[in-house]
Amino acid sequence: ADQEIAWIYCGDKIDPIHEKYIKEWEGRNPGWKVLPEVVGWAQCQDKATTLAAAGTPVAMAYVGSRTLKEFAENDLIVPVPMTEVEKKSYYPNIVDTVTFGGTQWGVPIAFSTKALYWNKDLFKQAGLDPETPPKTWAEEVAFAKQIKEKTGVAGYGLPAKTFDNTMHQFMHWVYTNNGKVIDGDKIVMDSPEVLAALQAYKDIVPYSVEGATAYEQNEIRAIFLDGKAGMIQSGSGAAALLKDTKIDWGIAPLPLGPSAKGEGTLLITDSLAIFKDTGVEEKAIEFAKFITSPGPQGEYELQGGAGLTPLRPSPKVDEFVKADPAWKPLIDGIGYGGPEPLFTDYKGFQNAMIEMVQSVVTGKAEPADALKKAAGELEQYK
């Protein structure tokens, strides 16, 4: 009978483009079948992990790249080394998100970066120049304050819910201030750069949407779309959605912190991980590389609205950006981006970061103390 490659596919249904290429690949590899199992976003990663932990891994799963180290350290996945040519094809820094211990452990399939969106109408109402976005944190805070005080509407949308995105959002601030969480094997988070980011959080909260800890990025985005926040930091999806609203908006690179050496952003990728001991590892790697190869991937990521940022530069992408300049800040940031920190217990890391952010946002702790405490906790998760 046919040999099968089971694939845990996150989402509600298989993207038609993926469906098309699965067919194509199966056609080229007789005797092989790809069996995608569609699992909702909220559970797909846990499901892949549970299956692996129980000893019946799927061949391939869609996972956040930040989990790769954990899987690798626990000997659950196989490395997926890239050739130099393959590495080169990606935007800079992207391969780093799946690299650990000198080799690659997954194939990037989805990628997102963030940019600053602002509401020109609100800027106008607040007496700000609607065409001038903030360039620095100080400006960002000041603008937010002015919007809040002049219009009564929140100047900024800060997501700080107990959710992975809260950590991501904060990492953007860290990376726009030249900060670092971990350097090799050393926790270096307790630094002035990171402290400044946390302090900026504290400063902007009073002018942000009430109850930051109740919202994650999509909820904050919805508030922005409703015209109830002056600025947000968001991915490409917001641009697509904004087009359907009456809001006059703009998009710019993320504002920078005092210690910034240039633009920056957090590079978040999702990858296809190939699980060990399924007997079809070789073929799964082959398929994974096929489905993420420039052709299929390019078609997939540029559909728009999905909130993805292209992984690789290509003429098509350039065309795309020309047609829609909103993409420019999203793609430009990649060059200065840093990967998600890789931890053995990334959930532990994530929880510690969330806790730190929330304690500052809710005023429960002073930034310096919160940072020190979190840095200490991180030791056990690396």
Partner: protein
């Protein structure tokens, strides 16, 4: 073969299928969990025996706080469920037109998939678009939007309210059934003696419901102690861990961080606490039963 022997054999024959089934499906994994709690099982392929290490770790951490929070959360939730459920049952017990419909209308929270009910509450709690904050603003009771899940204290109560909402139909139904079991002539006797409706409720209905209340509190306590989906979907234990209960912590440790050993130890602790409640419950009902006649 004596009569007693044969009935014993029969009793066990009748019980065997269910006992076997539950043993295989529940007891076996349970023992597995218990053993796991003494190991450092994780995603790693190898596991080592760590003795009571996991338990020590639990008590060296912030778990004490979690335990206390769990108890407070559970106590409030169960108490409010009982109060609202009994109140609802009393209302639905009144012989007024339409009560059959009203009774049906109390059941949806029980029928709807729990996650959906929680999503709906999530909507209600939303500060910007939700019903509660919205209506309160419209009525001028609050100034700006209030995100109920954003603040430690409101999130704590919001999760309790949702838990209450899910548990109330069962409590109401059970209390209603118990109320209908109170002999009508007791009410008539009291009425003849001049006792008003409220007085009758306070002096007759309520005391007679005590055994049913204890039973229901117990069942509801077990469910509440293990209440997971509500907190997980609404707040994931946040903000600042202010809604992290034992079961959330257990899930986060075991499934989130894949520390199966430590998670199992937490699960075992939950079982121990619940067992203590159960034993207390059986004691109390036993005493009640012997206190009343027979």
């Amino acid at each position: 073969m004596s009569v007693r022997r044969s009935t014993l054999i029969l009793a066990w024959t009748l019980l065997l299928p269910a006992v076997l089934y539950v043993t295989v499906i529940v007891a076996y994994p349970l023992v597995d969990t218990f053993i796991l709690s003494f190991t450092d099982a994780s995603l790693k392929k190898t596991t080592n025996w760590v003795g009571a290490g996991n338990y020590e770790k639990i008590f060296n951490g912030t778990f004490a706080e979690v335990i206390i929070r769990t108890f407070v959360w559970t106590a409030f939730s169960v108490a409010i469920k009982m109060i609202i459920g009994t109140f609802g049952a009393a209302m639905l017990n009144a012989a007024v037109p339409g009560r059959a419909l009203f009774r049906v209308l109390t059941m949806p929270p029980w029928i709807v998939p729990m996650a959906i009910g929680i999503f709906m509450w999530g909507w209600m709690y939303n500060g910007q678009f939700g019903m509660i904050s919205g209506l309160l603003q419209n009525w001028g009771l609050i100034d700006g939007p209030v995100a109920f899940l954003a603040h430690g204290s409101t999130a704590f109560w919001a999760t309790i309210v949702t838990d209450v909402w899910i548990g109330v139909p069962m409590v109401t139904l059970y209390m209603l059934a118990s109320m209908q079991a109170v002999p009508q002539d007791l009410y008539e006797a009291a009425w003849t003696d001049g006792a008003g409706r409220f007085y009758r409720f306070r002096r007759i209905t309520l005391p007679l419901l005590v055994p049913a209340m204890i039973t229901m509190s117990m069942l509801s306590l077990i469910a509440t102690f293990n209440s997971f989906d509500i907190i997980w979907i609404l707040t994931q234990g946040g903000p600042n861990g202010d809604t992290t209960t034992m079961i959330i912590d257990t899930y986060r440790t075991a499934i989130g961080s894949k520390k199966y050993g430590e998670g199992a130890a937490r699960a075992v602790l939950i079982c121990i606490f619940l067992s203590i409640f159960c034993i207390a419950y059986f004691r109390v009902t036993h005493r009640l039963a012997s206190e009343e006649h027979r």
